[in-house]
Symmetry: none
Subunit: 226 residues, 2 copies
């Protein structure tokens, strides 16, 4: 795992694998180092022994209930900010969540953007500055302002270019195959020619200069000097 400018750790406790994957993606994109678990026992142990800057906790867990986990954390003086996810509209859960020591709650279904916004607010309120900066080599990516800078000098990129960079940054420990990038940028429903991606890469390279986006022929693209 490569270094981030600020090291914000987040724990996501969610048993639905699809939501869990979304959580991980969104939080990672927001600059958190994310750990995911769907098991209540596991969650309790992690939250009790590790230091997180944020916990996203789903109440609808099998086995050990999310509320019980939260109460046991609070009973042990674990004071990290906890954002609780509740099934839709059940007022009891909200009440219990707050009384158990949740710092904020979000009813399902929710928008990832809102979750990120609330998560940042929580972290900021807790004292730490939200980790908005991700770096790889000379490239730095401000996930909050959606800004890109090379060696500190801001560079203007388009939305598509930004998404591409963000995805590479998220997976900077490996070369990302063109097929995967195409699917992430456009979705498999909308079929684009492979050359479209190459065009985006070319334009980005012209803006960022050499030595930022590398190619491993046959494997994919990656951020250099990460």
């Amino acid at each position: 795992m490569k270094r981030m400018s600020t090291d914000m750790r987040a724990l996501a406790v969610e048993d639905d694998p699809r939501i869990a994957a979304d959580l991980q993606a969104a939080l990672t994109a927001a600059g958190f180092r994310v750990e995911v678990t769907g098991d209540g026992e596991d969650a309790w142990f992690l939250g009790d022994t590790e230091d997180y800057d944020l916990v996203v906790l789903d109440l609808g867990l099998p086995a050990l209930d999310g509320l019980a986990v939260l109460k046991r954390w609070r009973a042990n003086d674990r004071t990290m900010p906890v954002l609780v996810l509740t099934a839709r509209g059940t007022w009891q859960e909200r009440v219990e969540g707050i009384e158990a020591g949740a710092d904020d709650y979000l009813p399902k279904p929710f928008r990832m953007e809102e979750l990120i916004a609330r998560a940042r607010a929580l972290v900021r309120r807790a004292g730490g500055h939200a980790a908005a900066l991700q770096e790889a080599g000379e490239l730095s990516l401000d996930t909050n302002r959606m800004g890109v800078a090379i060696r500190g000098v801001p560079v203007q990129v388009t939305a598509l270019e930004y998404r591409l960079l963000a995805y590479l940054m998220q997976h900077r420990d490996r070369p990302v195959p063109p097929t995967e990038l195409l699917e992430h940028l456009y979705g498999d429903d909308d079929a684009r020619e492979a050359n479209a991606l190459e065009a985006v890469i070319a334009r980005l390279r012209r803006k960022l200069g050499p030595g930022v986006i590398g190619t491993r022929r046959g494997f994919g693209y990656f951020l250099e000097a990460a």
Copy 2:
């Protein structure tokens, strides 16, 4: 932070005698020293002169409206946490309440348990209040008077325009995507065309002049910084 068990004062402003009685009972049981009034004028006077740790405020008051009371408090720098109750749980009222300075909001009918939970949460994190005057570049917003000024010169804006500006101000560190603005201004239940937002932006720009509201194509709108 004060202790709940020692001496927490709460003011309940509610004209319906039955609900008022319930409020008093529940808050007392929760450890508050409770005072109740059903008169807006009386409430305003009490809130302005006495020090409360919590206010529960019903908007549906005769004579002096609850919202007006709240605004007058905030205008006088009374920063105690206020939990607003409203009968008509419309989305607009919630916005108005929060923008008038409410710290939380509860639609009727509600469960007493939930009210107590929210009240406790409010008291627990009592402290952080939005500043009365917010600025970004040449633009300044007076959140108490709902007033807008550009370079010190007051500009008259409509309620909708103000809400848009307030939201941009609240998130002035990032570009706000149109989808998010649409959701905030109208709510997802009421679907508007995307162009409605552009129309509001255009009108605002004409009033405020250039260099205030910026656009980052593909990312969203933002307030130009100093």
